[in-house]
Symmetry: C2
Subunit: 182 residues, 2 copies
DNA sequence: CTATTTTGAGACACTCATGTCTCGCTTGGG
DNA sequence: CCCAAGCGAGACATGAGTGTCTCAAAATAG
């Protein structure tokens, strides 16, 4: 039985999302490895959480690349971004609550880079006259994260179907909850 | 120096929002009381967190009453709700991340009651043809909480001005980020 | 002013998560 | 088949957080 680093990190993220202060023993059990082995690869809780943080950043950055948010129509770019980010919504929900991670410069810088890319998208949409000017890119950025995390929560809770989650987030963020005035 | 229960709970919530696993000693220091006194009124961490949970529920319920969400135009009711809930956004952000609280039946039931009231508001708006039918009340409910919590986070971070936060949430939730089609 | 109550500071033992170690077993390559 | 490497299980000490207690100081009531 070889050590699957990615699998362990996935299980750890899933558990820590549900139970923020789970012990290393619980994490090891959930990941299907012994506490000793877990400690061999992640020497200490900080190392594990930091690895989760950097992995989350990397995955999110990859999704931003895959969504090509710097290209084409901003509205469509936002929809692509949401569609791509939805599979990592669980991860994002975890990172969102682990506010101690922002004290790690490496992770804080990673978030700053991502924030800049997403904010640039919103700014581009504003400059093209598509997005409202009275909602700042920084706020839209945070709102996007919050809605994606919330949708991940809802899916995990059975309140929203998995295949609907991207549309729910996209429609609400872009068009709001009011009916179209025809 | 008398023991101000409400003040202690406020300080505890503020600290625990920033640092989820602060020690009882840190909480006591932040609240300006000794660890012994803190322990006299809240015998154990669970008791403190549970008190925070029930207080949050109570305050939120009071805000729902103050906003009179069962009366008048649903759109205006949503705006009133957001306006009223904003002062407790810090509390809500804390409760949102403390997922262990949902294991306490008392608190879980409190959330269920609040969810029902808010969902009823959204359903009423839908039945009056004001709100979109393709976004479920349950999802709108969660989205509202997420946006309020996110705005509280933004205000605390200096990304959004305090007096703008209610408008930011209300406009985004109701009308979305797209410019009006004129 | 005196008596009662309440609070703060600290000591103490206890629990639990953690870090580290050893040893036996399984797995896979030679 | 044998051997090296990796993993699991568990023991052990350590440290941080916690619950409980005592006693003196401070606040409050009478």
């Amino acid at each position: 039985m070889s050590f699957d680093r990615a699998q362990v990190l996935r299980e750890a993220a899933a558990l820590l999302t549900r139970k923020a202060n789970a012990s290393m023993d619980e994490i090891a059990k959930a990941a299907g490895v012994s506490r000793a082995t877990l400690h061999r690869y992640f020497p200490g809780r900080d190392a594990l959480v930091r690895a989760l943080g950097t992995l989350g950043i990397e995955q999110l950055a990859e999704r931003l690349d895959a969504a090509r948010i710097e290209e084409g129509d901003p509205v469509e770019a936002v929809r692509r971004l949401i569609e791509e980010a939805m599979p990592v919504s669980g991860f994002l929900a975890f990172l969102y609550g682990e506010n101690q991670l922002y004290e790690v410069t490496e992770i804080d810088e990673g978030w700053t880079r991502i924030d800049e890319r997403v904010s640039a998208l919103f700014r581009r949409g504003q400059e093209q006259g598509l997005f409202r000017y009275d909602l700042s890119p920084a706020w839209l950025c945070e709102a996007l994260y919050a809605l994606i995390a919330a949708s991940g929560w809802c899916v995990q809770d059975g309140k929203v179907a998995s295949r609907d989650s991207a549309r729910m987030v996209g429609e609400l963020l872009l068009s709001g909850m009011l009916r179209e005035r025809s």
